[in-house]
Amino acid sequence: MTDLLPHFNHWVTVILMVVGLYAVVARGNMVKKLVGLAIFQTSVYLLYISPGKILGGTAPILSEAYTVYSNPLPHVLILTAIVVGIATLALGLALVVRINEAYGSIEEDEVHEADGP
């Protein structure tokens, strides 16, 4: 299958990225926007982890039994990115809660209307 579709992982990464982008741009609901942003973010995880994989390799925990390991460097970068991602998601959700308390809505259109022209 690598010969057939060598870029399958990259294409799915692009699809997920675009789906997330669409949710952020097209949807007015702020929770939906944040979920879309999270999908966009996970596609970046895939963008980093996929090229690090070696077919037939194993996880980079050294042992006498194995000689081929996948690349550990993207794992390090993405591991920390995930936890930073939840901190930023929480910050976004906190803003949503405050917006809801101030405007009584989490829909972008209604918030803009309340603000007037």
């Binding site: 060598p6 097209a26 999270a38 982890i49 996880a59 390991y69 920390t80 901190a87 930023t88 949503v96």
Partner: protein
Amino acid sequence: MTTVGSPEIELLLNAILLLLMVVAAIGVIRLRNLFAVVLLSGVYSFLMATLMVALDAVDVGMTEAAVGAGMSVVLLLSVLGLTRTREAPTRRRPIVPLIISVVVGIALVHGTMDLPPFGDPNAPAQRHVAPEYLARAQVETGAPNVVTAVLASYRGYDTLGEVAVIFTGGIGVLVLLAGLGRYTGLRTRPPGAPDPGPEPKPVPLMEETVVLRVAVKLLLPLILVFAMYVQFHGDFGPGGGFQAGVAAATAIILYGLIFGIPAARRVAPMRVVLFMIPLGVLIFAGTGVASLLLGGNYLDYSVLSSVPRSGQHLGILVVEFGVFVTVSSTMLGIFYAFASRPPRDGPEPS
């Protein structure tokens, strides 16, 4: 070169998980019931975690399972409880965003054509620094898990920065939702407003359910022991401070979900949580200062012991503990901040 597993099975598993993730992501976009959206995003994250394990990124898979499928679902659900669970129909036309997305997608797919094929051992990414790390990590730091060695030692600066970002994010949430000046109560009222009196007794929703109550009490010690195992075995197996921190926080969160927030706040008081959030960053940064004072470079743990290798190993354990302290308390503090918000009163706005 001995390889493990059959490449065909690996590719098949990879393809199935990727396709399921596309289905879940499109479902998230199309559904208007936000409750379903949040649960489906949890399913999506769990598929991502499984895929990460299939792609040999075991540490990443563990983190994504704890964070994406656990923590973020809890946060999103608590926000739905505070706001609303249905998305209003949009009045805007989706055609412009659709065109933008498709054009961006086509451009990116065009860009992937020049990338090396998936799983290629001779790709440039595999021939750069990765072989160096794999060859030297265990010799120099004594940690067989190369991910932990790179995370805590070789790229310690990065990780210190990431911990600082988590610290900042946590403080931001607490300032937005709780107001740090009145931290002990975690209640907000506008300045000058009359004191509303003692906090109303929250309705115990799930405490009455025997199955949940017994199951949680059985699970709690196991989750906490697992978190400690992940923490202190992280240099030999998958895991480390980030994963253990989130796992330990979810144990307390689970307790709070079933027995109510006041009960959870008696187990892990807010004062302790607020003390731990900066403490972890200070442990990490202080290890760097200690190595400076002992005559080494910042975050160069070799000088912490007479044998450089055991110094490295000691340094890794200490900074991973610092990561654990900040991550676990930040996750818990964020959860308290959301859970202590006054809930939506009255029926849901349509």
